[in-house]
Symmetry: C2
Subunit: 259 residues, 2 copies
Protein backbone atom coordinates (compact mmCIF):
# COMPACT_ATOMS: atom_id res chain seq x y z
CA UNK A 1 0.00 0.00 0.00
CA UNK A 2 1.14 3.52 -0.74
CA UNK A 3 2.10 5.75 2.16
CA UNK A 4 0.27 9.05 2.34
CA UNK A 5 1.40 12.37 3.78
CA UNK A 6 -1.03 15.17 4.61
CA UNK A 7 0.29 18.68 3.92
CA UNK A 8 -1.98 20.74 6.13
CA UNK A 9 -2.69 24.47 6.04
CA UNK A 10 -3.52 25.51 9.60
CA UNK A 11 -4.69 29.05 8.82
CA UNK A 12 -3.65 31.93 11.07
CA UNK A 13 -3.09 29.62 14.04
CA UNK A 14 -6.43 29.56 15.83
CA UNK A 15 -8.15 26.20 15.99
CA UNK A 16 -11.54 27.66 15.11
CA UNK A 17 -10.06 29.04 11.89
CA UNK A 18 -8.94 25.59 10.73
CA UNK A 19 -11.24 23.46 8.60
CA UNK A 20 -12.58 20.18 9.97
CA UNK A 21 -10.74 18.46 7.12
CA UNK A 22 -7.46 19.86 8.48
CA UNK A 23 -8.26 18.91 12.08
CA UNK A 24 -9.25 15.39 11.04
CA UNK A 25 -5.99 14.96 9.12
CA UNK A 26 -4.06 15.84 12.27
CA UNK A 27 -6.21 13.51 14.36
CA UNK A 28 -5.55 10.64 11.96
CA UNK A 29 -1.80 11.24 12.03
CA UNK A 30 0.81 9.50 14.19
CA UNK A 31 3.37 12.26 13.84
CA UNK A 32 2.99 15.98 13.21
CA UNK A 33 5.97 17.70 11.60
CA UNK A 34 6.38 21.46 11.31
CA UNK A 35 8.21 24.61 12.24
CA UNK A 36 8.18 24.93 16.05
CA UNK A 37 6.34 28.28 16.11
CA UNK A 38 3.33 26.80 14.31
CA UNK A 39 3.53 23.59 16.28
CA UNK A 40 3.19 25.59 19.51
CA UNK A 41 0.03 27.26 18.17
CA UNK A 42 -1.62 23.84 17.96
CA UNK A 43 -1.85 23.80 21.74
CA UNK A 44 -3.03 20.91 23.86
CA UNK A 45 -5.42 19.22 21.48
CA UNK A 46 -2.74 17.21 19.72
CA UNK A 47 -0.43 16.89 22.72
CA UNK A 48 -0.53 13.09 22.51
CA UNK A 49 0.92 13.01 18.99
CA UNK A 50 4.59 12.55 18.27
CA UNK A 51 5.96 15.92 17.12
CA UNK A 52 9.08 16.56 15.08
CA UNK A 53 10.62 19.77 13.93
CA UNK A 54 13.58 21.34 12.18
CA UNK A 55 14.77 24.94 12.66
CA UNK A 56 13.75 27.79 10.35
CA UNK A 57 15.39 27.63 6.89
CA UNK A 58 15.83 23.88 7.14
CA UNK A 59 12.75 23.37 5.03
CA UNK A 60 14.26 20.73 2.79
CA UNK A 61 15.38 18.69 5.80
CA UNK A 62 11.88 19.04 7.26
CA UNK A 63 10.33 17.72 4.05
CA UNK A 64 12.73 14.76 3.91
CA UNK A 65 11.88 13.95 7.50
CA UNK A 66 8.23 13.59 6.45
CA UNK A 67 9.07 11.02 3.77
CA UNK A 68 11.42 9.15 6.11
CA UNK A 69 8.79 8.88 8.85
CA UNK A 70 6.08 7.90 6.34
CA UNK A 71 8.45 5.20 5.06
CA UNK A 72 8.40 3.67 8.55
CA UNK A 73 4.68 3.17 8.17
CA UNK A 74 3.59 6.18 10.22
CA UNK A 75 0.81 8.49 9.12
CA UNK A 76 2.53 11.88 8.78
CA UNK A 77 1.04 15.38 8.74
CA UNK A 78 3.25 18.32 7.77
CA UNK A 79 1.77 21.57 9.04
CA UNK A 80 2.25 25.02 7.52
CA UNK A 81 0.77 28.32 8.66
CA UNK A 82 -1.92 29.79 6.42
CA UNK A 83 -2.33 27.71 3.28
CA UNK A 84 0.26 25.00 2.61
CA UNK A 85 0.14 25.82 -1.10
CA UNK A 86 0.72 29.58 -0.75
CA UNK A 87 4.38 30.18 0.16
CA UNK A 88 4.07 26.91 2.09
CA UNK A 89 5.80 23.55 1.75
CA UNK A 90 3.51 21.91 -0.81
CA UNK A 91 5.70 22.51 -3.88
CA UNK A 92 8.92 21.45 -2.15
CA UNK A 93 7.18 18.27 -0.98
CA UNK A 94 6.18 17.44 -4.56
CA UNK A 95 9.74 18.12 -5.78
CA UNK A 96 11.34 15.90 -3.15
CA UNK A 97 8.51 13.41 -3.60
CA UNK A 98 10.02 12.43 -6.97
CA UNK A 99 12.49 10.36 -4.96
CA UNK A 100 9.74 8.61 -3.00
CA UNK A 101 7.38 7.08 -5.56
CA UNK A 102 5.70 4.98 -2.86
CA UNK A 103 4.41 8.04 -1.05
CA UNK A 104 1.30 9.94 -2.05
CA UNK A 105 0.73 13.58 -1.06
CA UNK A 106 -2.53 15.27 -0.13
CA UNK A 107 -2.64 19.04 0.25
CA UNK A 108 -5.34 20.25 2.65
CA UNK A 109 -6.00 23.95 2.10
CA UNK A 110 -6.13 26.53 4.88
CA UNK A 111 -7.05 30.17 5.31
CA UNK A 112 -4.14 32.22 3.98
CA UNK A 113 -3.22 35.64 5.40
CA UNK A 114 -4.68 37.39 2.33
CA UNK A 115 -8.11 36.06 3.37
CA UNK A 116 -7.81 36.33 7.14
CA UNK A 117 -6.17 39.74 7.05
CA UNK A 118 -8.71 41.03 4.53
CA UNK A 119 -11.56 39.95 6.82
CA UNK A 120 -10.10 42.06 9.63
CA UNK A 121 -9.49 45.14 7.48
CA UNK A 122 -12.93 45.02 5.81
CA UNK A 123 -12.85 44.01 2.14
CA UNK A 124 -9.54 45.15 0.61
CA UNK A 125 -9.23 42.38 -2.02
CA UNK A 126 -12.83 42.11 -3.12
CA UNK A 127 -11.72 42.38 -6.76
CA UNK A 128 -8.73 41.20 -8.82
CA UNK A 129 -5.60 41.10 -6.68
CA UNK A 130 -1.94 40.05 -6.53
CA UNK A 131 -0.04 38.42 -3.70
CA UNK A 132 3.68 39.27 -3.52
CA UNK A 133 6.28 38.23 -0.94
CA UNK A 134 9.09 40.68 -0.18
CA UNK A 135 11.37 37.88 0.99
CA UNK A 136 14.42 37.71 -1.28
CA UNK A 137 15.78 34.56 0.33
CA UNK A 138 14.47 32.54 -2.60
CA UNK A 139 13.69 35.21 -5.21
CA UNK A 140 16.01 37.88 -6.65
CA UNK A 141 14.99 41.37 -5.47
CA UNK A 142 14.89 42.61 -9.09
CA UNK A 143 12.11 40.11 -9.79
CA UNK A 144 10.16 41.31 -6.74
CA UNK A 145 10.49 44.91 -7.96
CA UNK A 146 9.28 43.89 -11.40
CA UNK A 147 6.23 42.20 -9.90
CA UNK A 148 5.38 45.19 -7.72
CA UNK A 149 5.52 47.45 -10.77
CA UNK A 150 3.41 45.05 -12.86
CA UNK A 151 0.80 44.79 -10.09
CA UNK A 152 0.57 48.58 -9.85
CA UNK A 153 0.39 49.01 -13.64
CA UNK A 154 -2.42 46.46 -13.78
CA UNK A 155 -4.43 48.33 -11.09
CA UNK A 156 -4.59 45.23 -8.91
CA UNK A 157 -5.26 45.33 -5.20
CA UNK A 158 -1.98 44.05 -3.73
CA UNK A 159 -1.27 41.88 -0.70
CA UNK A 160 2.30 41.87 0.58
CA UNK A 161 3.58 38.89 2.58
CA UNK A 162 6.86 38.96 4.53
CA UNK A 163 7.20 42.76 4.41
CA UNK A 164 10.07 42.80 6.88
CA UNK A 165 12.48 40.72 8.93
CA UNK A 166 15.53 41.35 11.08
CA UNK A 167 17.77 41.45 8.02
CA UNK A 168 15.28 43.21 5.72
CA UNK A 169 14.14 46.18 7.77
CA UNK A 170 13.76 48.63 4.87
CA UNK A 171 12.12 46.33 2.30
CA UNK A 172 8.61 47.69 2.73
CA UNK A 173 9.99 51.20 2.24
CA UNK A 174 11.74 50.06 -0.95
CA UNK A 175 8.54 48.39 -2.16
CA UNK A 176 6.51 51.54 -1.44
CA UNK A 177 9.03 53.58 -3.44
CA UNK A 178 8.43 51.35 -6.48
CA UNK A 179 4.67 51.65 -6.03
CA UNK A 180 4.83 55.44 -5.46
CA UNK A 181 6.48 55.76 -8.87
CA UNK A 182 3.20 54.54 -10.38
CA UNK A 183 0.40 55.08 -7.83
CA UNK A 184 -0.76 58.24 -6.07
CA UNK A 185 0.47 59.05 -2.55
CA UNK A 186 -3.09 58.96 -1.20
CA UNK A 187 -3.77 55.37 -2.32
CA UNK A 188 -5.73 53.61 0.46
CA UNK A 189 -3.71 50.95 2.30
CA UNK A 190 -3.85 48.95 5.51
CA UNK A 191 -2.01 46.27 7.42
CA UNK A 192 -2.62 43.67 10.09
CA UNK A 193 -0.09 42.27 12.55
CA UNK A 194 -0.58 38.89 14.27
CA UNK A 195 -3.79 38.04 12.43
CA UNK A 196 -6.17 36.08 14.64
CA UNK A 197 -3.55 35.79 17.39
CA UNK A 198 -2.82 37.54 20.65
CA UNK A 199 -1.62 41.07 20.15
CA UNK A 200 -3.42 41.57 16.84
CA UNK A 201 -2.99 45.14 15.56
CA UNK A 202 -4.64 46.71 12.56
CA UNK A 203 -4.02 50.05 10.81
CA UNK A 204 -5.26 51.88 7.76
CA UNK A 205 -3.12 54.57 6.11
CA UNK A 206 -2.16 56.08 2.77
CA UNK A 207 0.61 54.64 0.62
CA UNK A 208 2.82 57.62 1.51
CA UNK A 209 2.26 56.93 5.22
CA UNK A 210 2.81 53.20 4.74
CA UNK A 211 6.32 53.97 3.48
CA UNK A 212 7.23 55.31 6.93
CA UNK A 213 5.64 52.56 9.00
CA UNK A 214 7.62 49.96 10.94
CA UNK A 215 6.19 46.51 10.35
CA UNK A 216 7.46 43.08 11.35
CA UNK A 217 7.52 39.61 9.84
CA UNK A 218 4.08 38.82 11.27
CA UNK A 219 2.47 41.68 9.33
CA UNK A 220 0.41 41.37 6.15
CA UNK A 221 0.09 44.56 4.10
CA UNK A 222 -2.78 45.50 1.77
CA UNK A 223 -2.67 48.15 -0.97
CA UNK A 224 -6.00 49.09 -2.52
CA UNK A 225 -6.72 49.49 -6.23
CA UNK A 226 -7.74 52.80 -7.87
CA UNK A 227 -11.30 52.43 -6.60
CA UNK A 228 -10.55 51.46 -3.00
CA UNK A 229 -11.76 53.68 -0.19
CA UNK A 230 -12.14 53.85 3.56
CA UNK A 231 -15.63 53.24 4.91
CA UNK A 232 -16.07 53.65 8.63
CA UNK A 233 -12.45 52.79 9.38
CA UNK A 234 -12.38 49.79 7.03
CA UNK A 235 -10.46 49.39 3.74
CA UNK A 236 -12.91 48.54 0.96
CA UNK A 237 -12.19 47.53 -2.64
CA UNK A 238 -15.39 47.51 -4.65
CA UNK A 239 -16.53 44.64 -6.81
CA UNK A 240 -17.12 47.23 -9.52
CA UNK A 241 -20.73 48.27 -8.97
CA UNK A 242 -19.85 51.94 -9.02
CA UNK A 243 -18.15 54.34 -11.38
CA UNK A 244 -14.44 53.87 -11.05
CA UNK A 245 -12.73 56.87 -9.59
CA UNK A 246 -9.69 57.24 -11.84
CA UNK A 247 -10.74 56.00 -15.23
CA UNK A 248 -14.20 57.45 -15.50
CA UNK A 249 -15.35 54.15 -16.96
CA UNK A 250 -18.54 52.78 -15.54
CA UNK A 251 -17.71 49.35 -14.19
CA UNK A 252 -21.30 48.26 -14.36
CA UNK A 253 -23.00 47.79 -17.68
CA UNK A 254 -26.26 46.62 -16.13
CA UNK A 255 -27.44 50.10 -15.26
CA UNK A 256 -27.32 49.49 -11.52
CA UNK A 257 -25.75 51.85 -9.07
CA UNK A 258 -25.11 51.49 -5.41
CA UNK A 259 -26.97 54.23 -3.59
Amino acid sequence: MKHKIFIVGMGPGREDMMTRQALQALEQSDVIIGYTVYMDLLGERFAGKERMSTPMRQEEKRCRLCFQEAGKGKQVALICSGDAGIYGMASLMYEIGKEYPDTELQVIPGITAASSGAAILGAPINHDFCVISLSDLLTPWEKIEKRLAAAAEGDFAIVIYNPSSHKRKDYLKRACDILLGILEEERCCGYVENIGREGMKTQICTLKELREREVNMFTTVFIGNSGSEYIDGKLITKRGYQIERDTGICGNNRGETTV
Copy 2:
Protein backbone atom coordinates in the same frame (compact mmCIF):
# COMPACT_ATOMS: atom_id res chain seq x y z
CA MET B 1 -27.04 47.59 21.31
CA LYS B 2 -25.65 47.42 17.81
CA HIS B 3 -26.96 44.76 15.45
CA LYS B 4 -24.34 42.51 13.96
CA ILE B 5 -24.31 40.69 10.63
CA PHE B 6 -21.94 37.83 9.90
CA ILE B 7 -20.64 37.72 6.32
CA VAL B 8 -19.57 34.12 6.04
CA GLY B 9 -17.26 32.45 3.52
CA MET B 10 -18.41 28.86 3.19
CA GLY B 11 -15.47 27.61 1.08
CA PRO B 12 -16.11 25.26 -1.85
CA GLY B 13 -19.39 24.03 -0.36
CA ARG B 14 -18.40 21.03 1.73
CA GLU B 15 -19.04 21.31 5.42
CA ASP B 16 -15.67 19.81 6.35
CA MET B 17 -13.97 22.57 4.36
CA MET B 18 -15.63 25.30 6.42
CA THR B 19 -13.94 26.66 9.53
CA ARG B 20 -15.50 26.14 12.94
CA GLN B 21 -15.78 29.92 13.19
CA ALA B 22 -17.97 29.92 10.07
CA LEU B 23 -20.12 27.02 11.31
CA GLN B 24 -20.57 28.67 14.70
CA ALA B 25 -21.66 31.93 13.07
CA LEU B 26 -24.37 30.03 11.17
CA GLU B 27 -25.42 28.19 14.33
CA GLN B 28 -25.76 31.48 16.21
CA SER B 29 -27.87 33.01 13.46
CA ASP B 30 -31.66 33.20 13.23
CA VAL B 31 -31.73 33.71 9.50
CA ILE B 32 -29.31 32.65 6.76
CA ILE B 33 -29.36 34.74 3.59
CA GLY B 34 -27.63 33.80 0.37
CA TYR B 35 -27.79 32.79 -3.24
CA THR B 36 -29.94 29.64 -3.49
CA VAL B 37 -27.20 27.45 -5.02
CA TYR B 38 -24.94 27.99 -1.99
CA MET B 39 -27.83 27.68 0.39
CA ASP B 40 -28.59 24.23 -1.00
CA LEU B 41 -25.00 23.14 -0.39
CA LEU B 42 -25.47 23.78 3.31
CA GLY B 43 -27.63 20.69 3.49
CA GLU B 44 -29.60 19.47 6.48
CA ARG B 45 -27.47 20.83 9.29
CA PHE B 46 -29.06 24.26 9.26
CA ALA B 47 -32.51 23.10 8.10
CA GLY B 48 -34.15 24.63 11.18
CA LYS B 49 -32.98 28.14 10.38
CA GLU B 50 -35.04 30.67 8.50
CA ARG B 51 -33.58 31.02 5.01
CA MET B 52 -33.97 33.90 2.61
CA SER B 53 -32.69 34.39 -0.89
CA THR B 54 -32.74 36.63 -3.94
CA PRO B 55 -32.01 35.48 -7.51
CA MET B 56 -28.58 35.77 -9.14
CA ARG B 57 -27.58 39.38 -9.98
CA GLN B 58 -29.85 40.76 -7.29
CA GLU B 59 -26.87 41.16 -5.00
CA GLU B 60 -27.74 44.65 -3.83
CA LYS B 61 -31.26 43.55 -2.89
CA ARG B 62 -29.80 40.56 -1.04
CA CYS B 63 -27.50 42.84 0.96
CA ARG B 64 -30.35 45.20 1.84
CA LEU B 65 -32.39 42.23 2.99
CA CYS B 66 -29.64 41.44 5.50
CA PHE B 67 -29.78 44.91 7.02
CA GLN B 68 -33.58 44.89 7.08
CA GLU B 69 -33.72 41.55 8.88
CA ALA B 70 -30.97 42.58 11.31
CA GLY B 71 -33.00 45.72 12.01
CA LYS B 72 -35.83 43.50 13.24
CA GLY B 73 -33.49 42.17 15.92
CA LYS B 74 -32.62 38.92 14.19
CA GLN B 75 -29.07 37.60 14.05
CA VAL B 76 -28.31 37.45 10.32
CA ALA B 77 -25.64 35.47 8.45
CA LEU B 78 -25.02 36.24 4.78
CA ILE B 79 -23.29 33.31 3.10
CA CYS B 80 -20.99 33.48 0.08
CA SER B 81 -19.16 30.65 -1.66
CA GLY B 82 -15.39 30.58 -1.18
CA ASP B 83 -14.24 33.64 0.73
CA ALA B 84 -16.79 36.42 1.31
CA GLY B 85 -14.04 39.00 0.74
CA ILE B 86 -12.81 37.62 -2.61
CA TYR B 87 -15.38 38.46 -5.31
CA GLY B 88 -17.94 37.99 -2.52
CA MET B 89 -20.44 40.32 -0.91
CA ALA B 90 -18.23 41.85 1.80
CA SER B 91 -17.47 45.13 -0.01
CA LEU B 92 -21.05 45.71 -1.14
CA MET B 93 -22.21 45.10 2.45
CA TYR B 94 -19.80 47.77 3.72
CA GLU B 95 -20.98 50.20 1.02
CA ILE B 96 -24.65 49.70 1.80
CA GLY B 97 -23.79 49.61 5.50
CA LYS B 98 -23.17 53.39 5.37
CA GLU B 99 -26.95 53.74 5.52
CA TYR B 100 -27.26 51.49 8.56
CA PRO B 101 -24.94 52.95 11.22
CA ASP B 102 -26.55 50.77 13.90
CA THR B 103 -25.37 47.58 12.25
CA GLU B 104 -21.89 46.16 12.63
CA LEU B 105 -20.37 43.76 10.10
CA GLN B 106 -18.05 40.84 10.74
CA VAL B 107 -16.39 39.08 7.80
CA ILE B 108 -15.58 35.43 8.48
CA PRO B 109 -13.04 34.18 5.96
CA GLY B 110 -13.41 30.96 3.97
CA ILE B 111 -11.31 28.83 1.65
CA THR B 112 -11.35 30.55 -1.74
CA ALA B 113 -11.14 28.60 -5.02
CA ALA B 114 -7.51 29.69 -5.52
CA SER B 115 -6.62 27.70 -2.39
CA SER B 116 -8.98 24.75 -2.78
CA GLY B 117 -8.29 24.36 -6.51
CA ALA B 118 -4.55 24.63 -5.96
CA ALA B 119 -4.67 21.85 -3.38
CA ILE B 120 -6.28 19.54 -5.95
CA LEU B 121 -3.86 20.43 -8.77
CA GLY B 122 -0.74 20.13 -6.58
CA ALA B 123 0.95 23.44 -5.81
CA PRO B 124 0.35 25.85 -8.73
CA ILE B 125 0.42 29.10 -6.70
CA ASN B 126 3.22 28.34 -4.29
CA HIS B 127 4.87 31.66 -5.17
CA ASP B 128 3.67 35.19 -6.06
CA PHE B 129 0.34 35.02 -7.89
CA CYS B 130 -2.56 37.07 -9.29
CA VAL B 131 -6.26 36.34 -9.16
CA ILE B 132 -8.30 37.68 -12.08
CA SER B 133 -12.01 37.28 -12.85
CA LEU B 134 -13.06 37.14 -16.51
CA SER B 135 -16.55 38.35 -15.68
CA ASP B 136 -17.17 41.69 -17.38
CA LEU B 137 -20.53 42.24 -15.73
CA LEU B 138 -18.91 44.68 -13.31
CA THR B 139 -15.55 45.38 -14.95
CA PRO B 140 -14.84 46.65 -18.48
CA TRP B 141 -13.22 43.95 -20.62
CA GLU B 142 -10.34 46.30 -21.52
CA LYS B 143 -9.38 46.43 -17.87
CA ILE B 144 -9.43 42.63 -17.64
CA GLU B 145 -7.15 42.44 -20.70
CA LYS B 146 -4.79 44.96 -19.15
CA ARG B 147 -4.60 42.92 -15.94
CA LEU B 148 -3.95 39.67 -17.82
CA ALA B 149 -1.08 41.32 -19.67
CA ALA B 150 0.35 42.85 -16.49
CA ALA B 151 0.18 39.49 -14.70
CA ALA B 152 2.01 37.78 -17.58
CA GLU B 153 4.64 40.55 -17.79
CA GLY B 154 5.24 40.22 -14.05
CA ASP B 155 5.79 36.45 -14.33
CA PHE B 156 3.07 35.77 -11.78
CA ALA B 157 1.28 32.46 -11.46
CA ILE B 158 -2.30 33.35 -12.44
CA VAL B 159 -5.64 32.09 -11.16
CA ILE B 160 -8.68 32.80 -13.33
CA TYR B 161 -12.13 32.93 -11.74
CA ASN B 162 -15.35 32.96 -13.80
CA PRO B 163 -13.65 31.81 -17.02
CA SER B 164 -16.96 31.23 -18.80
CA SER B 165 -20.72 31.53 -18.64
CA HIS B 166 -23.62 31.06 -21.03
CA LYS B 167 -23.11 34.54 -22.44
CA ARG B 168 -19.32 34.54 -22.30
CA LYS B 169 -18.41 31.26 -23.98
CA ASP B 170 -15.20 32.46 -25.68
CA TYR B 171 -13.74 34.56 -22.84
CA LEU B 172 -11.14 32.01 -21.80
CA LYS B 173 -9.99 31.78 -25.41
CA ARG B 174 -9.71 35.57 -25.56
CA ALA B 175 -7.77 35.61 -22.28
CA CYS B 176 -5.41 32.90 -23.56
CA ASP B 177 -4.79 34.94 -26.70
CA ILE B 178 -3.64 37.89 -24.55
CA LEU B 179 -1.39 35.60 -22.51
CA LEU B 180 -0.02 33.83 -25.60
CA GLY B 181 1.18 37.22 -26.85
CA ILE B 182 3.57 37.28 -23.89
CA LEU B 183 4.03 33.71 -22.62
CA GLU B 184 5.24 30.60 -24.43
CA GLU B 185 2.72 28.10 -25.83
CA GLU B 186 4.09 25.34 -23.60
CA ARG B 187 3.46 27.21 -20.33
CA CYS B 188 2.14 24.69 -17.76
CA CYS B 189 -1.53 25.20 -16.89
CA GLY B 190 -4.36 23.31 -15.21
CA TYR B 191 -7.98 23.67 -14.23
CA VAL B 192 -10.48 22.21 -11.79
CA GLU B 193 -14.24 22.00 -12.22
CA ASN B 194 -16.63 21.63 -9.25
CA ILE B 195 -13.89 21.86 -6.62
CA GLY B 196 -14.69 19.66 -3.63
CA ARG B 197 -18.15 18.86 -4.99
CA GLU B 198 -19.74 15.97 -6.83
CA GLY B 199 -18.48 15.66 -10.38
CA MET B 200 -15.10 17.23 -9.67
CA LYS B 201 -12.86 17.12 -12.73
CA THR B 202 -9.25 18.14 -12.99
CA GLN B 203 -6.96 18.60 -16.00
CA ILE B 204 -3.43 19.75 -16.69
CA CYS B 205 -2.47 21.11 -20.12
CA THR B 206 -0.30 23.67 -21.90
CA LEU B 207 -1.44 27.26 -22.43
CA LYS B 208 -1.91 26.52 -26.14
CA GLU B 209 -4.15 23.56 -25.26
CA LEU B 210 -6.02 25.57 -22.63
CA ARG B 211 -7.08 27.99 -25.37
CA GLU B 212 -9.11 25.21 -27.01
CA ARG B 213 -10.72 23.81 -23.86
CA GLU B 214 -14.38 24.19 -23.02
CA VAL B 215 -14.82 25.22 -19.41
CA ASN B 216 -17.87 26.31 -17.46
CA MET B 217 -18.67 28.81 -14.74
CA PHE B 218 -17.76 26.30 -12.02
CA THR B 219 -14.19 26.01 -13.31
CA THR B 220 -11.11 27.64 -11.80
CA VAL B 221 -8.11 27.95 -14.13
CA PHE B 222 -4.44 28.06 -13.12
CA ILE B 223 -1.56 29.31 -15.29
CA GLY B 224 1.93 28.59 -13.99
CA ASN B 225 4.84 31.04 -13.87
CA SER B 226 8.07 30.64 -15.87
CA GLY B 227 9.38 28.04 -13.41
CA SER B 228 6.22 25.90 -13.11
CA GLU B 229 6.38 22.25 -14.13
CA TYR B 230 4.41 19.04 -14.05
CA ILE B 231 5.49 16.51 -11.46
CA ASP B 232 3.69 13.18 -11.51
CA GLY B 233 0.54 14.67 -13.05
CA LYS B 234 0.48 17.66 -10.71
CA LEU B 235 1.08 21.35 -11.54
CA ILE B 236 3.91 22.69 -9.37
CA THR B 237 5.16 26.27 -8.99
CA LYS B 238 8.37 26.33 -7.00
CA ARG B 239 9.04 28.52 -4.03
CA GLY B 240 12.31 29.41 -5.72
CA TYR B 241 14.73 26.83 -4.36
CA GLN B 242 16.03 26.00 -7.81
CA ILE B 243 17.54 27.83 -10.73
CA GLU B 244 14.77 29.51 -12.66
CA ARG B 245 14.29 28.03 -16.06
CA ASP B 246 13.85 31.13 -18.22
CA THR B 247 15.96 33.82 -16.62
CA GLY B 248 19.02 31.83 -15.70
CA ILE B 249 19.00 33.67 -12.37
CA CYS B 250 19.51 31.52 -9.32
CA GLY B 251 16.51 32.10 -7.11
CA ASN B 252 18.34 30.89 -4.06
CA ASN B 253 21.21 32.85 -2.64
CA ARG B 254 21.76 30.45 0.24
CA GLY B 255 23.70 27.93 -1.83
CA GLU B 256 21.07 25.20 -1.38
CA THR B 257 19.71 23.10 -4.17
CA THR B 258 16.89 20.64 -4.23
CA VAL B 259 18.29 17.26 -5.16
